[in-house]
Symmetry: C2
Subunit: 171 residues, 2 copies
C-alpha cells in the first residue's frame, strides 16, 4: 500500500444554529479533507435545497474511480437530482471549495442550479469567471448566479499545501 | 404508459470492412435512435481507441435517469475510462451526433481525449466552437483536436425531426 501524506488540517464543526453560506462552505471544506485522505486533489462540494437542507455532499474521486467525470461537483449534482427526483435544480445552491472547471460549470448550467458559491478563482481552468464564463453564455436558457470568496483563504491554503507537500514527497 | 412518437429513421448497418470516420459516426447515429426510442433527445456518442476498437457507446439518458449529467458523451467517457483503466484518453477519439454542450466539451478536455468528431454545430450551446471554444482555453494543458461535419445532414435531420414531431404531438 502506498503511504499518503496526512492532511494537516482538522475537520471543522460549524454550529448548526447558523446555517449561512459559511456553514455550507465548511461542510464542503470537510469534504475536501475526505478527498485528501484518499490521495485525491482536495475539492469538496455540497448542494442545498430551498429549505437549506443539505441534499448532496461529495468529494473529488477522479483517481480512485479512474474517471475524469468524477469531480466533486459532478457527483454532488447527480446525487442531488436523484434526491429531488428532477434533473432541474432551480431552487438549489451549490457550494464548492474552488472554482468549478468548465465541465462542472457546464453541469451547473444544464442542471439549472440557482446559485453557485465557490471559495476562490482559478484563472487557468475556472469555468465561472476565472478562465471563461459559462454562466454568461448569451443564448443559454439558464444562467446561475455566481458568488465568490466564502472561505477563500482556508480553501486556497488547503489546495496549495496539498501540492506543496506532494512536490516535497516526490523529490 | 405514455405513447412515444416512433422514430421514422431506420438504423444503419455500416460495413465492417471500412472503419473510417463515417463508420464510427454511423454507430453514434444508431445510438441516437436508441435515445429517441426512449423518448430522449436523440444524441449518441461512441469512443474509439488507438486500434480503432469501439470501447464505449452511449446515448442521452437525461430524462430516464433524472440526471442532467447523463448526456451521451458523459456516459461514453465514463464507460471508456473504465474500459481502459485510466482517466486519460490520450489515444482515443469520440464521435458525437451533435456539438457537445459545455459540460461534455469540458469532459473531453479533462478526460484528455485526443480528438472529437461531431456532426453539426450548435451556435446556442456548443462548447467546441459553436457558442464557445473550450478546446482552445489558452492555459489548458490539453487541447483536443476538433473535426466537424461527418454525417452533418443526417444527424441534423434526426434532431430537427424529433422536435418537429414533438411540437405537433403537443398541439
Amino acid at each position: 500500500m502506498k503511504k499518503y501524506i496526512e492532511c494537516p488540517f482538522p475537520r471543522l464543526f460549524p454550529s448548526q444554529l447558523e446555517k449561512d453560506d459559511n456553514f455550507y462552505m465548511q461542510l464542503a471544506y470537510n469534504e475536501s479533507i475526505s478527498a485528501w485522505e484518499q490521495d485525491e486533489v482536495p475539492i469538496g462540494a455540497v448542494i442545498v435545497d430551498k429549505q437549506g437542507e443539505v441534499i448532496a455532499s461529495a468529494y473529488n474521486q477522479t483517481r480512485k474511480c479512474n474517471d475524469p467525470t468524477a469531480h466533486a461537483e459532478m457527483l454532488a449534482i447527480t446525487m442531488a437530482t436523484q434526491k429531488i427526483g428532477d434533473w432541474r435544480m432551480n431552487e438549489c445552491k451549490m457550494y464548492v471549495t474552488k472554482e468549478p472547471c468548465p465541465m462542472c460549470a457546464g453541469a451547473a448550467v444544464v442542471g439549472r442550479l440557482k446559485e453557485v458559491y465557490y471559495a476562490y478563482k482559478d484563472p487557468k481552468m475556472g469555468g465561472l469567471g476565472g478562465a471563461i464564463s459559462l454562466h454568461e453564455l448569451p443564448q443559454s436558457n439558464h444562467k446561475p448566479i455566481v458568488n465568490i470568496g466564502v472561505m477563500e483563504k482556508e480553501c486556497l491554503q488547503m489546495m496549495q499545501t496539498f501540492f506543496q507537500l506532494r512536490r516535497i514527497k516526490q523529490k
